[in-house]
């Protein structure tokens, strides 16, 4: 990857900014998105722009590698690096799918309140979530619900909802200077975060900062 870092490329979705992004910076961004997704209890806004860009880059690099000699040492190093990047991307997307499967009803109901610009799921993820829910409902109905008496046959959305625990504690490192985070549970205790400082704090207090990128989970 490092060797190919000088390959300049423009991220597709950033047309309006016309910003030149190197593959290296995209990789760093996706690694941060991956760690955030891994440690946050709830699902975060999708970064399909990064994923698409990186997948494109992978295909590109695979093409380049075909031109290299089989005995070339660089080939091994490139392939190792590619495997690592692929692991990061698959693990990132898998983490999202796991959350979608676990909190299906909750995520879908939250998603319904968001407009199409600010939705957290990609189109494909949203479809996956919907299908997952219908499949579960179908399974419950055919095996058990239809054999139950009277009003117990309903698929009770409220009682079956699993919600992520936002009160859980997370490790984080601040990217920017942030003033006045109110600590939940205290009366009006506030803390300020210095850039680069590390903290353990309840997720609900910093959820918005994680989404905006002001802090990153570690």
């Amino acid at each position: 990857m490092e060797n190919n870092g000088d390959v300049q490329m423009t991220a597709e979705n950033d047309d309006q900014e016309e910003e030149e992004v190197t593959a290296q910076s995209v990789l760093l961004a996706i690694e941060e998105a991956w760690l955030n997704e891994k440690f946050a209890p709830e699902i975060l806004p999708h970064r399909s722009d990064l994923v698409d860009c990186m997948l494109q880059q992978i295909t590109h690099m695979e093409e380049n590698m075909k031109r290299l000699d089989k005995e070339d040492l660089r080939l091994m190093i490139h392939r190792m690096e590619l495997d690592r990047i692929k692991y990061v991307i698959t693990n990132y997307l898998r983490a999202r799918l796991e959350k979608i499967e676990k909190y299906t009803i909750h995520i879908l109901s939250q998603e319904a309140t968001r407009s199409s610009e600010e939705c957290y799921l990609t189109v494909a993820e949203l479809q996956f979530a919907k299908e997952f829910l219908t499949n579960i409902e179908m399974l419950f109905k055919t095996i058990a619900l239809q054999h139950m008496p009277g009003n117990f046959q309903t698929f009770e959305v409220d009682t079956l909802t699993v919600k992520p625990n936002l009160q859980t504690y997370v490790f984080l490192r601040a990217n920017d200077r942030i003033n006045g985070i109110i600590i939940p549970g205290s009366m009006d205790e506030e803390i300020d975060l210095e850039p680069g400082s590390q903290h353990i704090i309840q997720y609900s207090a910093v959820a918005d900062l994680v989404k905006s990128g002001a802090v990153k989970l570690i």
């Binding site: 994923v51 698409d52 997948l55 494109q56 295909t59 089989k70 091994m76 392939r79 190792m80 495997d83 690592r84 692929k86 692991y87 991307i89 698959t90 693990n91 997307l93 898998r94 799918l97 499967e101 189109v123 494909a124 993820e125 479809q127 996956f128 299908e131 997952f132 499949n135 579960i136 179908m138 399974l139 419950f140 055919t142 095996i143 058990a144 619900l145 054999h147 139950m148 008496p149 009277g150 117990f152 009682t159 079956l160």
Partner: protein
Amino acid sequence: MYGRKGFKLISELDLYSDILPFNVGCMIEALIKEVLQEMQSLYDANVANSNAIRNDNNMALLPSVQLRHIALKRNKRCILAYIYNRMRKLKELRWELGSILPPEINTNLINAEVQWFQSYNKSLAKYMRSLGEDHGFNLTTNMVPPKTLYVEVKCVEDFGKLELDDGQVILLKKNTYHLLPRSVCEPLIRQGILEHKKYVSMEFPSYEQETQTIQLRSIKSDD
């Protein structure tokens, strides 16, 4: 006692980590049927009692109606939890073994579960195809962080020919050792065809013994 059978269902989940048979005539099937029967009888009793409450204003029956209602809810919850957890295990198998279930698991499933598995496969495949530009992106590979490019594996089952990414074809025969790219081996290791050769230091203790005997000898020679 109400709800005891429902609870038994849940403890079955705890007792066995495998997917138990769910066919007609099996223990689980019978158990679920009994729970459903219990629900039906509770429900009937409740309907009768609540009619009595409404018509004769017999408030003495109210507590028993409530108790039955709670038992009913609990039974429903137990059954759904049982089904849900079986489904979760099935889902794990999808990620572990791929889209085709081995026959020993397939025979333990009922129709509805097989159907669920197929629809899950379909949505997952659709999602994975949507990633990337042309042919999608397989999320079921790269399950563990890559450490080395090649891994030493032992073949434990006759598999036949395997084509590598670079077009090279190798023959996987039982009890042969290979050094293969990790990405190719990963699904095969999970399916149990290849075995990751672990560097368990079998030689290490014997080596130690040897050095000990050498030391002993040297001490003796000193004498």
